[in-house]
């Protein structure tokens, strides 16, 4: 207000702004600062300021995604990384989920030919639309499946003993990884957004049954348990080949970079996608 006059009453809500704030006024009221921070956090889609536990492992894939987005190509650690443009499309949010590990000795409940993994997706906000997703499994080049080609079957399954798992995809695994001399390679399975929506609208949990069999084997999942003993050798290879179970003595950091990862690509209804599709 200039000249101390005002054509509009303030109603006592907004004090006149001093031309030169006093030192005391320069320091915001802690309560006000808290309110401003809460407002900003809510606009970021967060209910409160996250307080993560120390040393939370960050999946390398997410780091590479960020670095690629920032055009920091020289910092990419995975030489096989490719930006998932077909997944991202209109998405402005990418979330990563590690699978829920069972407590205790899970070797007793795990079938020798199949492994069940599940993901808790309940942390996805309800107003966020999942546009695409993928399940990423690490294949270790250091171990082999054994002689002959093998097939990986991916089923949607509520639990390990699900009598009617739904097949999502089957893929032939060859022993050689083209273009990669050593190290590891991520097998990525595209998941339809409907699956995520159902899981999100239900229990928030999404389970998968993984099965690796020699290509000449024709047993179905419900038959496979009876022939588990004969497949022990293959299964031992599988455990090392597809990193779905933690090795004995493996540290948290190493395991965090190898364990299955479910990645969702979504949009919260605000703002631009991560990838711009406008004119250059």
């Amino acid at each position: 207000r200039q000249g101390g006059e005002s054509s509009e009453p303030d109603n006592g809500r907004v004090p006149p702004t001093p031309s030169s704030p006093s030192p005391a006024a320069a320091l915001p009221d802690p309560g006000l600062a808290q309110t401003i921070q809460s407002l900003l956090l809510s606009r970021l889609g967060l209910q409160s300021q996250p307080n993560p536990r120390p040393d939370v492992p960050v999946p390398q894939y997410l780091l590479d995604l960020y670095r690629f987005h920032q055009q920091q190509y020289h910092l990419l650690e995975d030489p096989t990384f490719s930006f998932p443009s077909h997944h991202i499309q209109q998405a402005n949010t990418i979330r990563s989920f590690h699978h829920s590990e069972p407590f205790g000795d899970n070797t007793k409940v795990r079938d020798q030919t199949r492994v069940h993994i599940s993901f808790n997706l309940s942390s996805i906000p309800q107003d966020e639309t999942v546009l695409s997703a993928e399940l990423r499994l690490l294949r270790s080049q250091a171990a082999s499946l054994g002689p002959g080609p093998h097939r990986l079957n991916l089923y949607l399954s509520k639990h390990h003993e699900d009598p009617e798992p739904t097949m999502l995809e089957t893929r032939l695994l060859t022993s050689g990884l083209h273009g990669i001399k050593a190290g590891s390679f991520w097998e990525a399975f595209t998941l339809k957004p409907d699956l995520l929506r159902k899981a999100h609208g239900g229990t928030g949990s999404l389970g998968f049954l993984l099965e690796v069999r020699p290509e000449n084997s024709t047993a179905s999942p419900d038959q496979s348990s009876s022939s588990a003993a004969g497949d022990n050798q293959t299964e031992q290879h599988q455990e090392r080949h597809l990193r779905v179970c933690r090795s004995v003595g493996q540290d948290d950091h190493s395991w965090a970079q190898e364990r299955p990862l479910l990645v969702t690509y979504s949009h919260d209804g605000h703002g631009e996608p991560l990838v711009k599709h406008g004119r250059r």
């Binding site: 207000r1 200039q2 000249g3 054509s7 996250p50 939370v56 960050v58 780091l63 631009e272 991560l274």
Partner: protein, 175 residues
């Protein structure tokens, strides 16, 4: 009419074209064919040259260069502001970046508001009213164009999220 100061330059042959938003919209601001008073951006300088406000049309013929420079610098423009997430205590959950250039807008919106000042019609009217009635405040210097940044952070469940947050960086300012 043209001024007699050496600081006042005349430029001919370009039209006044100004975008409302977007990068570089004011990097090539020509002066109108019939206008003979204006300042080049380089004369007055600013951060990266994104926002530079001409005092075209407002300059008194006998104004001193120092005064004119002070007036120009007080005009609405973009200023550098780097936000370090450590300073605001967010470094525990924001993985990357550690900070970013947010910028801020500051300066006066005085009469007259030239086209390249990104002034809204409302700001022009408000400024005009202010010139005749001091009880009405001047228009505010605000961001007219904002851009997003990507944040890699941990959510409330310790899960890593990469998100594009809109309106985090000031691209240009205006009245």
């Amino acid at each position: 009419t043209s001024g007699n100061s050496k600081w006042i330059k005349a430029r001919k042959g370009s039209n006044m074209k100004t975008k409302r938003s977007g990068k570089g919209h004011n990097r090539d601001q020509g002066w109108g064919k019939t206008r003979k008073v204006g300042y080049s951006m380089k004369s007055w300088g600013d951060d990266k040259g994104e926002v530079s406000w001409s005092d075209r049309g407002r300059v008194k013929r006998n104004g001193s260069p120092a005064k004119l420079k002070r007036l120009s610098r007080g005009r609405c423009r973009r200023h550098p502001l780097h936000v370090d997430f450590r300073d605001v205590g967010w470094h525990k959950w924001i993985i990357a970046p550690s900070g970013y250039d947010a910028f801020f807008c500051l300066g006066e919106c005085r009469y007259p508001l030239a086209d390249h000042m990104n002034a809204s019609s409302h700001a022009v009217v408000q400024t005009m009213v202010n010139s005749v009635n001091g009880a009405v405040p001047r228009a505010c210097c605000v961001p007219t164009s904002l851009s997003p940044i990507a944040l890699l952070y941990l959510d409330n469940h310790d899960r890593v999220v990469l998100k594009n947050y809109q309106d985090m960086v000031v691209e240009s300012c205006g009245c």
